[in-house]
């Protein structure tokens, strides 16, 4: 039998079938070279074992597989899904895409933007909000209530966009990873505007993290064939393509700062970012696209037109919300008008609240889980 390091290693781990194991044992007894090698391998294996032991915590947090499976079924799995589950699923997937550094604008095809807006409007995940919050230059937020069937239509369209049917965006600059900062001064310096922190927090609140993150820049081109494909996919009637050969859209998402807190069993995070810039080319009428979007959602033509004309599309982020699963209302917060969205999960019994507003050119978002919405508003009002 010849000396074989790999086989010795397997012998060490008792991973050889018995005839082979016996053969190695017999060989070892007679071969000093292999004996020496075995002890080297053993020492290294023991060393690696003790190094890896450092990664093992004193105790693991409890991980209840049944609860995890319930979450998986409720949030992560594809259809049949409630609108809320669909949103959460998109969110989970987006988050992991980001986490793995494979960020790209999955769904930037015109009308499908609306779908992204749904995702970010709930975004408890900072990455999603940081990257997507405002694919327009956001000044205001407006809500379009949608039902389950409409949500399904948006989902289907988003999936088509994701598969690249309407072209693929080019990543000009990747989104950065969140970087911890020490204080407000450091955060403000990094993001280029004055970051504010809450002056009042509920009792028992502890800061978990304070990070800044740079957003992505994306270039997207859509030629007439792709535009037509998108229009065909929406089956919207009576909409003409813009009189241009291709549409190019440049999206630049600047820095964002995020502060996360835990409050009892709940969590709250405050996101602040300068409004992203989106340059939309001449010849493209955003109101017409908005109108097409509303028609796509099934709104009668006249209503779609009236509503689309009433919105300042250059500064308003229109958020379709599944009205049967969330409550939303306009609120006065931080001295300006904002949007408060609330949801209670039937399955997990957890309450989420998202508060969105814009002040002094900075978009603010607070996402909270199991925190009273009134407290969320107080936190917003206390920003200094």
């Amino acid at each position: 039998m010849k000396c074989d390091t790999g086989r010795l290693r397997a012998y060490l781990d008792d991973a050889l079938p018995s005839p082979e194991r016996d053969a190695v044992a017999g060989h070892l007894a007679a071969c000093a070279v292999c004996q020496a090698e075995l002890s080297v391998l053993q020492a290294r294996s023991v060393a690696a074992g003790s190094r890896f032991a450092a990664l093992t915590p004193a105790s693991y947090p409890s991980a209840d597989p049944v609860r995890a499976l319930a979450r998986f079924r409720a949030e992560t799995l594809p259809a049949p899904a409630t609108p809320w589950a669909a949103i959460r699923r998109s969110l989970t997937m987006t988050k992991h895409t980001l986490l793995n550094g494979r960020w790209r604008v999955a769904t930037i095809g015109m009308t499908a933007l609306l779908c992204l807006a749904v995702i970010l409007s709930f975004a408890p995940a900072r990455q999603v909000a940081a990257d997507f919050l405002g694919l327009f230059r956001v000044r205001k937020f407006a809500v379009i209530p949608i039902d389950q069937a409409q949500q399904a239509k948006l989902e289907a369209l988003a999936q088509q966009a994701e598969s690249g049917q309407f072209g693929k965006p080019t990543q000009v600059r990747e989104a950065g990873k969140p970087q911890p900062v020490a204080d407000l001064a450091a955060a403000s310096k990094a993001v280029g505007f004055a970051v504010r922190a809450p002056a009042a927090l509920p009792t028992g609140a502890t800061r978990k993290s304070f990070t800044v993150q740079s957003g992505p820049a994306v270039h997207y081109e859509m030629d007439r064939a792709m535009m037509q494909a998108l229009l065909d996919a929406t089956q919207v009637q009576g909409v003409k393509l813009p009189p241009v050969d291709k549409v190019t859209i440049d999206v630049d998402v600047p820095f964002a700062a995020e502060q996360s807190f835990s409050i009892g069993n709940g969590a709250l995070s405050i996101l602040q970012m300068a409004s992203p810039q989106v340059s939309i080319p001449p010849g493209v009428d955003p109101a017409m696209i908005g109108e097409a979007g509303f028609k796509f959602l099934g709104m009668p033509d006249a209503d779609a037109r009236r509503l689309a004309q009433s919105i300042d599309w250059t500064s308003t982020l229109v958020i379709p919300l599944p009205a049967n699963v969330v409550q939303y209302r306009e609120v006065t917060v931080d001295g300006v008008s904002g949007l408060l969205v609330e949801h209670k999960s039937e399955k997990t019994n957890r309450r989420s609240a998202s508060l969105l507003w814009q002040r002094d050119g900075v978009i603010h978002g607070i996402n909270a889980t199991d925190v009273d919405p009134l407290v969320v508003m107080q936190v917003a009002d206390s920003l200094k």
């Binding site: 074989d4 390091t5 790999g6 086989r7 010795l8 290693r9 397997a10 012998y11 781990d13 991973a15 391998l41 290294r44 294996s45 060393a47 690696a48 074992g49 190094r51 890896f52 450092a54 990664l55 093992t56 915590p57 004193a58 693991y60 947090p61 991980a63 597989p65 049944v66 995890a68 499976l69 979450r71 998986f72 949030e75 992560t76 799995l77 989970t92 997937m93 988050k95 992991h96 986490l99 793995n100 550094g101 990873k177 969140p178 970087q179 911890p180 900062v181 020490a182 450091a186």
Partner: protein, 194 residues
């Protein structure tokens, strides 16, 4: 309902039950592997969800067969996906930590693991070094070590990495040697810098 529809519905129920069983069996060890690397419960849970989502999207591994799914295949597959996600986390955390060291003079800490602060600090140093060493290894070597130390057998490792069972020992020797070399380099450069 037509007979076909019934058959389909029954098959679907059976498939879902198969998947649920796999989820419940493997969730905890997968979560723990991810927790050792991610360091927070939330991130480990999210990564575990992602791992099982990928399993769900690969029905050929578990769906439709009347016999029990090939258990060791699924286990090996899940560990490979989890080890891959963990490796990505290590790499991105390492990039982040480097930048902080330079830009902000801070180091990333996932928090204390022990009540004794001195021990905790030493352990943290060790943890950081191990993580950096793993992140510096080629992906397959890091994955192999992660999976081995999470308890996969040689047969499962071979399955996960798509290599012959007879080659696992050799791969492991190489990976351990590379790991120890990088680890010692890191520790000695740490010591020299102080």
């Amino acid at each position: 309902m037509t007979t076909d529809a019934w058959t389909r519905a029954a098959a679907q129920t059976r498939d879902e039950a198969t998947f649920d069983a796999l989820f419940l069996t493997h969730y905890q060890p997968i979560f723990r592997l991810l927790y050792r690397i991610a360091g927070t419960r939330e991130e480990a849970e999210d990564l575990a969800q992602e791992t099982f989502l990928r399993l769900h999207r690969s029905p050929e591994l578990w769906k439709g067969t009347r016999e029990k799914p090939r258990e060791h295949n699924v286990r090996a597959w899940l560990y490979r996906v989890a080890a891959n996600l963990a490796y990505n986390v290590l790499r991105s955390q390492q990039r982040r930590t480097r930048r902080e060291d330079v830009v902000l003079g801070q180091t990333l800490s996932a928090g204390s693991w022990e009540p004794n602060p001195v021990e905790a600090a030493e352990r943290e140093e060790e943890r950081v070094a191990v993580r950096h060493a793993l992140a510096a290894l080629p992906e397959r070597q890091a994955q192999l070590l992660l999976m081995r130390h999470a308890g996969l057998s040689y047969r499962e490792l071979a399955e996960a990495l798509g290599i012959a069972p007879g080659s696992v020992g050799t791969s492991l020797v190489r990976a351990e040697a590379a790991f120890e070399r990088v680890y010692q380099n890191l520790r000695s450069s740490e010591g020299g810098g102080r």
